[in-house]
Amino acid sequence: MANVTVLGATGNQMVAEAFRQAKVDVLPAYPITPQTTMVENFAKYVADGRVHTEYVAVESEHSALSASIGASAAGARVATATAAQGLALMFEELYIASGMRLPIVMANANRALSAPINIHGDHSDVMSCRDCGWIVLFAETAQEAYDQTIISFPIAENPNVLLPVMTTLDGFVTTHAMERCELMDDDTVAAYVGDRVPENALIGGPKAVSHGMFSSLGGPYFKLKKVQREALENSKPYIQAEGDKWAAITGRKFEFVEKWECDDADYIMVIAGSSAGNARVVARELRAEGLKVGIARIRLYRPFPVAELVDILKDAKAVAVLDRSDCFGAQFGPIGLDVASALYSAGAQVPMRNYIYGLGGADVTLDALRQAFTELPQVASGELDQSLNYLGVR
């Protein structure tokens, strides 16, 4: 029977606990706000002998992911963590990790990208890496950041998946706020995550293999990319299975898209990350006022849950898609583009308006979210167009 400790902890503390309980073999990292206290806490666990991890204090994020790639290819269980400019500096290795099918777990403290310099929370960093072939998860709370980090290890390391996982939590709002959290006992987590059993490791595997080969014209590069796309799409049942297995232990459900009052909703908001709670506060008020609103909260962002979202949104009168980052030059923000193409390909004619919100940590006010919800009847009637709007810009 699992023992649960209730404690007040930040998202960063909870992710550090998850890394410790998963008994990570190698963790190369470079500190960056707002991820810093995560790796500080973890480094302390290593120094105190509470976990026997090779903690590599590297000189840059480029090196952090390079070292992670090497260690993962060797057969180790590997984690790392970063944010914003650090994730941007990892860019070329992101594709290498996924192309080499290495099960690295990376926590990202979602933060704005410069310029202007800004250390606060938004999704510009993770969204700029959304097409790199990683599984991408969004947490709303410190508790979810913990749960999501734990399930990431068996997902990534499953021989039927073998993909890196980015487990993300919003900078400051989730990384630095102390909340009521439940920590599982170490033995329960150890039994749940098990050991990594690599089939094709550089070290310790049943046969000698090479990693990182050259494949130019005439080689299998083109085919491998097709296989990589299929691998990401095919990871969905394994992601759900691990979420279900962990839910059976904790009682905390995992869904690709969390449905809140969507079944009878006329108007639905699509959102990811820490602002979903604020949206629920407003949605409860609006329901009491007679407006039937619902919320579809994305927890699995890559592979994108197309079928699940279409099923939730197809009968709505109008949909508000909230994006905490922008795709400059494109018609919508990243989730806006994804939802629009999902609805189009399903033949669902649902009016949609895209809202960019909370960039650079701008406070996500209840009034701003109320505006997005209450504009939807006008979007449904055609009085408001299906455009991109910056929500609450002063």
Partner: protein, 191 residues
């Protein structure tokens, strides 16, 4: 008090407001409450005005933004009063607690505090100097707060101090902080 208690802390960086916001939250957590405690995130500059927030509730807390309509405002440094609008958004039946040597009437006059708002004052600076032996007003101010607002008991606060500070500090320091809480609970006045 309604279901959700929202507290905004005003202080200067270095006075322990973030520790205070967490200390209160953890005490409520020990008593089975749902909690949040967070600083207003920005660069740390000792002496600069800062805000921190605590939420306490009997049910899970969905809202995650800054507190703009607090039920309670706590001011750890009265030199902030001419600089910061500490009353901004304060509930008309709320509580304003200030670490100051000024009287309740002086505060009510100077800030124009509505008669429905309860004002509490405590000289946490001198209590801290007497007990903790340095000007660290956070612990005695939390003691005064729980005495006045009663979201947890003074005894619960002391229980948590023994656990929480016991992990980080010597027994002498823990004892001094416990003494500061008792003194503040006795000396705080409110109206």
């Amino acid at each position: 008090m309604s279901d959700l208690i929202e507290i905004r802390w005003h202080a200067r960086a270095g006075q322990g407001a973030i520790t205070a916001s967490k200390l209160l939250a953890e005490t409520a957590l020990l008593k089975g409450k749902y909690i949040q405690a967070m600083p207003e995130y920005g660069p740390e500059r000792t002496g600069a005005p800062l805000k921190a927030y605590t939420r306490i509730s009997d049910v899970p807390i969905d809202v995650h933004n800054n507190i703009v309509k607090p039920t309670i405002v706590v001011v750890l440094d009265d030199t902030l009063l001419p600089v910061v609008d500490v009353l901004e958004g304060l509930d008309e039946n709320g509580i304003l607690l200030i670490n100051t040597t000024k009287s309740i009437d002086q505060i009510r006059d100077e800030l124009g505090v509505a008669p429905t708002i309860k004002i509490a004052v405590v000289d946490a600076k001198h209590i801290a100097l007497d007990t903790i032996k340095r000007d660290m007003p956070n612990t005695p101010t939390v003691g005064a707060l729980v005495q006045v607002a009663k979201m947890v008991t003074v005894e619960a606060l002391k229980e948590n101090l023994i656990i929480d500070f016991g992990k980080k500090f010597t027994q002498d320091v823990v004892d001094a902080n416990l003494a500061s809480v008792d003194r503040a609970a006795q000396e705080v006045v409110s109206q």
